[in-house]
């Protein structure tokens, strides 16, 4: 998978090496490095490399952030890349009866429901349903507000995650 990454580095000796290390240590095969010095104290460095999978790219990003290196942009196969986030919550109510397929479909329009765990003490009683959604970081709030809307319409209690 081809990755294009723009980093903002301090214009001091050794900063480029510090930035390239996490890429190579997580299996990145660097194809090109381009940087231009401006008048600023920071330099934008454009790096193109190949990587085996998205989880390696996530590890690189985390490792760069740990080194306090600012990642300005990432493109994966030519498309803007966002880290995946997990949103987990529990719904309490007649979740199955009130068309659980519709609930999942509506969430899937924004992210991807990756786990559903149901506990139903009796068919006539309220069920409790754990749902996990994988979503782009920048769409997290949209998932939460869509679930809030669903809960209002279908009279569910929404127990969302803190943080």
């Amino acid at each position: 998978m081809k990755v294009y990454m723009v980093l903002e580095l301090e214009d001091v000796p050794g900063s480029l090496i510090r930035a390239l290390e996490p890429i190579s240590s997580h299996g990145g095969n660097i194809m090109s490095v381009f940087h231009s010095r401006g008048k600023k104290e920071e330099v934008d460095v454009q790096i193109t490399f190949s990587v085996a999978d998205e989880s390696s790219l996530d590890l690189m990003k985390k490792s760069l952030e740990k080194r306090r290196i600012r990642v300005k942009r990432i493109e994966l196969e030519g498309k803007r890349y966002y880290s995946k986030k997990t949103v987990a919550f529990i719904l309490v109510g007649h979740v199955i009866d009130k068309n659980i397929q519709d609930t999942i479909d509506r969430i899937n329009e924004i992210g991807l429901v990756s786990d559903v765990d149901v506990m139903m003490p009796d068919p006539s009683e309220k069920s409790s349903v754990w749902i996990k959604v994988d979503v782009d970081e920048n769409k997290r709030d949209r998932v939460v507000s869509e679930v809030e809307k669903i809960c209002k319409q279908k009279d569910f209690l929404f127990i969302s995650s803190l943080g």
Binding site: I90, D117, S161, L162
Partner: protein, 331 residues
């Protein structure tokens, strides 16, 4: 020795606990703080005990107020308008709809330039900025550490110790009764009603527990913290509230299965009270009647405070801290 005259309005569990702590610690207040705290009036719904020379607290704690030789029919407002005192301590139970009777007590005291220390949430949850303005206008202090988190030094910590910080968020467990019930449900796999009954037997929950269970108590605290710590201009009605009454034992079990617990969280920056999932190893995951609060700030980062959020004796710690601070700041 600085002599500070106090008026206590409301002599229920908290008022009595404060009186007990005053008796117990009066020696150390004199020695360590150079302050003699003298209670000159105690007001209850039916009348008051007034003695400008100082009421014998030890005696009054062991008898019916009405049997005291200084007992009279004077109502609290009348006393506040006439008595010569430095600080009013307001401990009445406040209605969250009107803030009364505490709101009127605080207004009357401040209008007279009397300093106020209170544990009463309702007046501040409803009229925070109005009361602060009134205090400022009359050159009086209004302190309220005991309104949130019982003994936990939350408001004073931010005011006195975190001055370099911008407070970005405050969130946490602000109601010990709900936390006791949710902890019991998780630990013993019991229904909410069973856990509630146990809480009532242990006097942790009131006979009418709706104020706690519906999240109203937490919301009043959220309103106070939003105004005082985040500089918002909000009132109780701006807080969105969902209590714990609809939580099932299955929901608690599901959370547990996936490494989480369910807690009633006051989310101050979002002006929201609702049951939330937190990681089992989150420092906010405290059990029993404990409260836990996370303050997120730009310089100090996260600070977690854990302590007893209720209980008359624990709350008296915050009240007396406010009294001593007020006394020291008095010109």
């Amino acid at each position: 020795m600085k002599v500070i005259k106090l008026v206590m309005v409301g002599f229920g569990a908290i008022g009595r606990a404060v009186a007990r702590t005053l008796v117990e610690k009066s020696g150390s207040f004199k020695r360590e703080h150079g302050v003699e705290l003298k209670v000159v009036a105690i007001c209850e719904a039916e009348g008051s005990v007034i003695n400008e020379e100082g009421i014998e607290l030890e005696k009054i704690l062991n008898e019916d107020l009405k049997k005291d030789k200084h007992w009279c029919q004077k109502k609290s407002i009348e006393v506040l308008k006439s008595v010569n005192a430095d600080i009013m301590l307001e401990f009445t139970p406040g209605s969250i709809k009107t803030g009364e009777p505490g709101l009127k007590h605080i207004e009357v005291a401040l209008e007279r330039g009397m300093n106020v220390v209170t544990s009463n949430k309702a007046p501040l949850a409803l009229k925070f900025h109005e009361l602060m303005e009134l205090a400022k206008k009359n050159n009086a202090q209004l302190r309220y550490e005991a309104t949130v988190g019982g003994a936990i030094p939350l408001i004073n910590l931010v005011e006195k110790t975190l001055q370099a910080n911008k407070i970005e968020a405050v969130e946490g467990i602000l109601n010990g009764t709900c936390n006791f019930i949710l902890s019991k449900m998780a630990e013993e796999g019991i229904e909410l009603q069973v856990a509630l009954k146990e809480a009532q037997e242990l006097k942790i929950a009131e006979p009418d527990p709706s104020y706690d269970l519906k999240g109203i108590d937490t919301a009043a605290k959220v309103a106070i913290l939003a105004n005082s710590m985040l500089g918002k201009k909000v009132t109780f009605s701006d807080i969105s509230i969902e209590g714990i009454e609809k939580i099932t034992v299955e929901a608690i079990e599901l959370a547990k299965k996936h490494g989480r617990v369910i807690k009633l969280i006051g989310d101050v920056s979002k002006l929201r009270v609702s049951p939330r999932l937190i990681d089992i190893d989150d420092p906010l995951n405290v059990s029993g009647t404990l409260n836990a609060i996370r303050i997120k700030s730009d310089v100090a980062k996260d600070i977690i405070l854990i302590g007893h959020g209720a209980g008359p004796r624990e709350t008296s710690s915050s009240v007396i801290s406010d009294v001593l601070t007020t006394a020291k700041d008095m010109v």
